[in-house]
């Protein structure tokens, strides 16, 4: 059997190349380092190839323009690295660079040194790409402080980050916004959005495709800091909004988070990571699973912890979640001139009669009779403020 094996002395030959020692487990196959990195790169390149077909070059011989969402965590770092490899590959063959990249880090906090240092590290490591920080002049930070809970802040940061990235993509006249979501991240997103009452907008969040971007106002102006911590004031959506279309793409949707982390550990000179992201990995489990009060946890964090476990034991189940929900259809025609009202915060279509019925199921009618001390102490405030079910929940706690 080993006759065709050029290195018959291998203890455990890689099942793919049979030429090197297998040191890694890749989806239950023992592979070598080179074959593993090739495997991950291939997953990304396949998606980039599909994306290239969706986005014709602006002018002959000119590169495409993409904006990449940067979180300073491992997945978007892997994406930047893989895109850079792709450019290297083309240039080495004397072909023109296939695309230019502007990577944007959306920071809800006022400028912090750790993040700046990391961005500087990126600039030095990938000089062909542009790296940018969008902290929205601290407006976001002020607004977030007015929200009632960690879970609420996390929900809104996620929404606004997406808005800001889309706005950046539009302002750079990019042909697509690339997001670094791994299979695992997409599965987390599916269950997190479901738990936030946002099941209806899942197809817009999960799938590759075109979305409307409101460009007539800065996204963060839809929320202003509010007088009471329980009732963030919400402005109704402006009467006249100009929308542009933007293609969102997830080139790493076929790779698990743990695979991307392994990938980064194998490449030469990997990009720097923000340490707060590292505890989300399955590799260093027990130590960082210190009990955190659920008051300080967000829905997103609960899901990250949950899927770190599932990914370890049942990676194909994770992949299946992402794959299946990716097939939900987008129900509305997307004709922005239609009378369909959209949520002033997340832009999802509003379902007013459904919301009305649901207020009964939530027991909100009763609360509206009490203007007193009820923690939800809601009432008329933002009820007619034109936000969807999910955003109403997010803003309240």
């Amino acid at each position: 059997m080993a006759s065709s094996n050029p290195a018959g002395s291998l203890l455990k030959p890689c099942v793919k190349c049979r030429a090197q020692e297998a040191t890694l487990d890749s989806r239950s196959q023992a592979v070598c380092r080179d074959c593993f990195t090739k495997f991950i790169a291939a997953k990304c390149i396949k998606q980039i190839g599909l994306l290239a077909k969706e986005t014709p070059t602006p002018h002959y011989g000119q590169p495409r323009r993409f904006v990449v969402g940067l979180s300073l965590g491992p997945c978007s770092a892997a994406l930047v690295h893989l895109l850079n490899e792709n450019v290297d590959f083309q240039l080495a063959r004397s072909r023109p660079a296939p695309f230019t990249i502007t990577a944007v880090y959306v920071d809800p906090h006022p400028a912090r040194k750790a993040e700046d240092d990391i961005l500087e590290g990126y600039r030095q490591r990938y000089p062909r790409f542009t790296f940018k920080r969008d902290d929205d002049d601290g407006k976001l930070d002020a607004m977030l402080n007015s929200l009632p809970s960690a879970a609420s802040r996390s929900d809104i940061v996620r929404l606004l980050t997406r808005h800001i990235l889309l706005a950046e993509a539009v302002s750079h006249d990019a042909q697509a916004l690339l997001l670094g979501h791994s299979t695992t991240a997409l599965a987390e997103l599916t269950l997190a959005e479901t738990a936030k009452g946002r099941g209806f907008s899942l197809p817009w969040v999960m799938r590759d495709g075109v979305v409307d971007v409101v460009v007539s106002r800065p996204p963060s102006s839809s929320l202003t800091s509010s007088p009471s911590p329980n009732q963030p004031a919400l402005l109704p959506p402006p009467k006249e909004t100009k929308t542009k279309k933007m293609l969102i793409y997830h080139p790493l949707r076929d790779a698990l988070r743990k695979e991307l982390i392994t990938y980064l550990s194998l490449v030469d000179n990997p990009p720097p990571l923000l340490t707060t992201h590292i505890h989300h990995t399955a590799d260093n489990d027990k130590a960082d699973k210190k009990v955190v009060s659920h008051k300080d946890l967000s829905i997103d964090e609960v899901m990250i912890r949950y899927f770190a476990d599932v990914e370890k034991e049942y990676p194909s189940v994770v992949a299946n979640v992402a794959r299946t929900t990716g097939k939900l259809v987008r129900l509305l025609s997307g004709d922005s001139s239609s009378s369909q009202k959209l949520c002033g915060l997340c832009g999802a279509p509003l379902d007013e009669s459904g919301d009305e019925r649901w207020r009964g199921e939530l027991g909100i009618q009763i609360q509206e009779e009490d203007h007193g001390e009820g923690e939800d102490g809601s009432g008329s405030g933002n009820k007619k403020g034109g936000v969807c079910y999910g955003c109403e929940r997010s803003v309240r706690g």
Partner: protein
């Protein structure tokens, strides 16, 4: 600190913090609010018609006992005009149902409702004890689960009743939504979220009036109304996906109390997004009331194995999926030469055919629901699972007799 006053009546002391939204209520107001919300569910979903005969699936447990109590109260308060009957199933496991059946018998007296106990022997010709004798302990969960799923319908049919209500609560529904997401079973997810199940051609429809009630509030209601129910630990451990979903929901509820209902809401909305499910089942467009939807009942609830293997379902599925992936990888190699995608963005709106349609339809195609040719129960096969199992059992019995 002065004792907080009830948020509704503002006179009595608030003794209860509602699990649903943490509002603080007195005992009387909590009971009233709980009942009002179930009334809202019943009217907004148009569950009943005046004069309807309705069987309450009664196990003696907290959910079905609260359901019976609330329905009796609301039926009298709002003149629903319902003819309510308690329907209990006896699986025929010696000793297992004794206490719970005693509870149901007391409930029948307390609520002044007729009670009908139907045994597996009457429904299937087999008690569970006899099944175990025949096939051994191993695998009998499959039988119990499948038989249990149909027992209420068959029992109601025997009584000539066309509507069975069950005590499934919001936690059960939310659990089923997450479980089916984890399983990647969108067809089942979309069916499991509707409040009414069973299609018009099926003889018995089922509904869940407590679909929006929190399990914790059901327990509080039973406690404060001093209801007589039988509390027992479920003897089955839930299968892996359900168990996993259940623990996840407990954590989410701690982060945000509304999470359970938020998941139910998402599940209902996602049901409309599943390819192949008719958008007309949308419960909101242009109507102030949600028409009762019909679908297969798919909530296993506690103790139901739904006829699946009791082993670690997650591990089994993971293995299965991995084998499929390897298989598909080979197929893609063959298909490499054919372009997967044609045309640019020019005329494309909304849906970029990036993922191939063929793959999409494979998974979400879903089974077409029909009726079992033998017993008439809803089934995606010609012969339903229960009848198939019965065939096997009866063959066995025949052999033994020979």
């Amino acid at each position: 600190m002065a004792p907080a006053l009830c948020a509704v009546c503002k006179t009595a002391r608030a003794l209860i913090k509602r699990p649903k939204n943490h509002s603080k209520l007195c005992k009387t107001c909590f009971i009233e609010v709980f009942e009002d919300e179930v009334h809202h569910t019943i009217t907004s979903s148009q569950l009943f018609f005046p004069g309807e005969r309705v069987a309450i699936g009664a196990s003696g447990g907290k959910d079905s006992t609260v359901l019976a109590s609330v329905l009796k109260t609301l039926n009298e308060r709002h003149n629903y005009g319902l003819d309510l009957v308690l329907l209990s199933i006896d699986e025929g496991i010696k000793g297992y149902r004794d206490d719970s059946l005693e509870t149901v018998k007391r409930n029948a007296v307390q609520y002044d409702m007729p009670l009908k106990v139907v045994g597996y022997d009457e429904l299937y010709g087999w008690t569970m004890d006899q099944v175990v004798e025949t096939i051994g302990k191993k695998g009998n969960c499959t039988y119990c689960g499948v038989f249990r799923r149909q027992a209420l319908d068959r029992g109601a049919k025997m009584l000539g009743i066309k509507h069975v209500v069950t005590g499934h609560n919001a936690d059960d529904v939310a659990e089923t939504v997450l479980m089916n997401l984890l399983r990647g079973d969108m067809a089942r997810l979309s069916r499991s979220t509707s409040i009414v199940t069973g299609n018009n051609s099926s003889e018995v429809k089922r509904s869940k009036p407590l679909k929006y009630s929190y399990e914790k509030e059901i327990v509080l209601y039973a406690h404060h109304k001093k209801l007589d129910y039988f509390s027992t630990e479920c003897i089955y451990s839930p299968e892996a996906f359900r168990g996993s979903a259940r623990s996840l929901i407990k954590q989410l509820e701690r982060v945000r109390p509304s999470a359970i209902l938020d998941i139910v809401r998402s599940g209902e909305d996602m049901a409309r997004l599943v390819p192949g499910e008719s958008p007309s089942s949308c419960s909101c467009k242009g109507k102030s009331k949600a028409p009762a939807e019909v679908a297969e009942d798919d909530i296993g609830g506690c103790g139901s194995q739904n006829g699946r293997n009791p082993g670690n379902e997650m591990a089994v599925m993971d293995k299965q999926l991995r084998e499929n992936e390897e298989h598909e990888a080979h197929e893609i190699d063959v298909a490499k030469s054919t372009p997967r995608n044609e045309g640019g963005t020019a005329n494309k709106k909304w849906e970029l055919p990036v993922r191939t349609a063929a793959v999409a339809s494979k998974v979400v195609k879903g089974q077409v629901l029909g009726n079992c040719k033998r017993c008439g129960y809803m089934s995606s096969q010609d012969i339903c699972q229960a009848c198939t199992l019965l065939d096997g059992l009866n063959k066995n019995r025949a052999q033994i007799q020979i």
